[in-house]
């Protein structure tokens, strides 16, 4: 699948698919990578090492620093595959050196399937 490169790099991992936008500020714990937003479809799941597939970011712009904190604490997602990477997600991915692409149709992805992301070439592949 072709995608738009946002933050460079290549990574592989199991898909963690969120049908809902994610607020990293207040929504994901930077020390553990666990989603803590009440009522969120991923609440209780851990993003560490996963290819996180989600439609968009939401919430405060300091959410970018949470992505950076996840990387610093070794619990960042392996890669981000986003419907539309607005500034919060784009900024966080670049600051944290997490491979990220966007403008991908998210319907086909299934939780747990193995994905490879090549953010240099703008590609997402099923492994």
């Amino acid at each position: 699948m072709k995608a738009r490169p946002i933050s460079s790099g290549r990574a592989a991992g199991p898909a963690l698919v969120s049908p809902a936008p994610i607020s990293f500020y207040g929504g994901v714990e930077a020390t553990t990578g666990v989603v803590i937003e009440r009522g969120h479809p991923l609440c209780g799941r851990c993003v560490a090492g996963q290819v996180l597939v989600f439609p968009a970011g939401k919430g405060s712009t300091v959410g970018s620093y949470v992505l950076y904190g996840l990387a610093r604490n070794g619990v960042a997602p392996a890669a981000l595959v986003v419907g539309e990477a607005e500034t919060i997600v784009a900024t966080g991915a670049i600051l944290a050196d997490i491979p990220c692409v966007d403008r991908v149709a998210l319907d086909g992805f299934r939780d747990g399937e193995a994905l490879e992301v090549d953010a240099d070439r703008g590609e997402v592949r099923r492994a």
């Binding site: 712009t61 620093y65 950076y68």
Partner: protein, 405 residues
């Protein structure tokens, strides 16, 4: 990633190539990438930057760690940079009861900004605290009410930056040219007819809440705002509320703001707002907790000007308030108020001039306050969610009358 579609000058290219170090390179990559995403042609030098994401309450541990690492890397700002309000008044932290652990984290954040070469002025009203842009200058400001004021009232040009993108602009001295830096995005999208007399800054805030909800990120064009027209503080309140209830970053007022005459609002979708709509905003956002007694009164959201403090000082002279009143402002204006003899009467009445912070980003929910009385549409929008407060939203004179009775 040194190849880019953007036109960069030699200095910008050097930063992107890493000649000022890895951290600056990373922030330059960020600006270039954001520029590509938004279809910018180039990066514009900025006259000044205002960084948000300053309070420990919003930054948390990840933000604190980021700022400490960046500031210890040797990176320095390349543009005049000031800050959004922090979570603490450092001079009065103990007196006002700020939690000690929070004060310690906030001090580390401020030390990191100082190492970066940022001015320690922490205010949402830099334009009333000695940092006044001129018409047409390009800025990278992040606090939403100051963005609206800079664009609409001053005719400077800035997008609504996020905390990290403003910090990148500060360290690299430039910002991507898109959005409100260009004429197209500054054109009005809605025509607003105000059929109510606006008697206070709170009325302007209530109007802003109503309009912001309806135009979202649009550009409202106000036909007129009262016979005499609004002053700077009324425009400050209006823009702040529209930026809080919606995402307004630019607006026009016929005969008042500098770019209004460039545009003809004929044919735009029209909104009409009268006293009934404003009363509905007051009732909805500011019903209080039923007991009717706020345990804290706050004015100065956005930060109070010297003009507002002079009026309040005169109003309170020789009187005594029955409950605490915070008058939030910049350190710059507080110093001026002290030198000019305005602080004395206000503080003798029980008021406190609180600088460098505001109720929205201070940890007031940890300081024993449950119900706050405000004269600000913006504060009325934010205090319930960010500070778990019940809110009484009224014009300042009504709040004072009740507290002086």
């Amino acid at each position: 990633m040194s190849a880019t579609r953007l036109e960069l000058d030699d200095g910008q290219r050097a930063l992107l190539a890493g000649q000022a170090g890895g951290w600056v390179q990373r922030l330059m990559r960020l600006l270039v990438r954001l520029g590509e995403i938004y279809g910018a042609r180039r990066l514009l030098p900025v006259a000044s930057v205002q960084v948000s994401g300053v309070s420990y309450k919003s930054l948390g541990e990840p933000g604190l760690a980021f700022l400490e690492e960046l500031s210890q890397s040797g990176a320095r700002v390349r543009a005049l940079t000031s800050l959004n309000p922090s979570g603490v008044d450092p001079e009065r932290a103990a007196e006002l009861g700020f939690p000690a652990d929070f004060v310690e984290r906030q001090a580390r954040i401020m030390a990191a900004f100082a190492r970066l070469g940022v001015l320690g002025s922490a205010t949402c009203t830099p334009y009333q605290a000695g940092l006044l842009p001129r018409f047409g200058q390009h800025l990278a400001w992040a606090e939403s009410s100051s963005v609206a004021f800079a664009n609409a009232v001053l005719g400077a040009r800035t997008n609504r930056e996020g905390g990290p993108s403003a910090l990148a602009a500060a360290v690299c001295g430039c910002t991507p040219e898109h959005g409100l830096h260009l004429d197209q995005a500054r054109r009005p999208t809605h025509r607003v007819r105000v059929e109510a007399e606006l008697g206070s800054t709170a009325d302007h805030g209530a109007l802003g809440v109503w309009v912001g909800r309806r135009v979202g990120a649009g550009v409202p064009y106000f036909e007129a705002l009262g016979a005499a027209g609004p002053g700077a503080d009324e425009l400050k309140a209006l823009g702040a509320a529209m930026a809080a209830s919606g995402a307004v970053a630019m607006y026009h007022v016929a005969g008042v703001t500098p770019e209004a005459a460039r545009h003809d609002p004929a044919g735009l979708p029209e909104l009409r707002v009268g006293r009934a709509e404003l009363d509905q905003v007051y009732a909805e956002l500011g019903p209080g907790d039923g007991a009717g007694e706020p345990d804290l009164l706050v004015t100065g959201c956005p930060h109070a000007s010297l003009e507002e403090i002079a009026a309040l000082s005169g109003r309170l002279a020789g009187k005594r308030l029955r409950r605490p009143l915070w008058v939030c402002t910049s350190a710059f204006v507080r110093e001026a108020a002290r030198r000019l003899g305005l602080a004395g009467p206000l503080e003798a009445a029980g008021g406190r001039l609180v600088a460098d912070t505001c109720p929205v980003v201070a940890p007031i929910e940890r300081m024993g306050f449950r119900c706050t009385g405000v004269d600000s549409g913006k504060a009325a929008c934010y205090l319930p969610g960010l500070c778990q407060q019940r809110v009484v939203f009224r014009p300042l004179e009504e709040l004072l009358e009740e507290a002086l009775a």
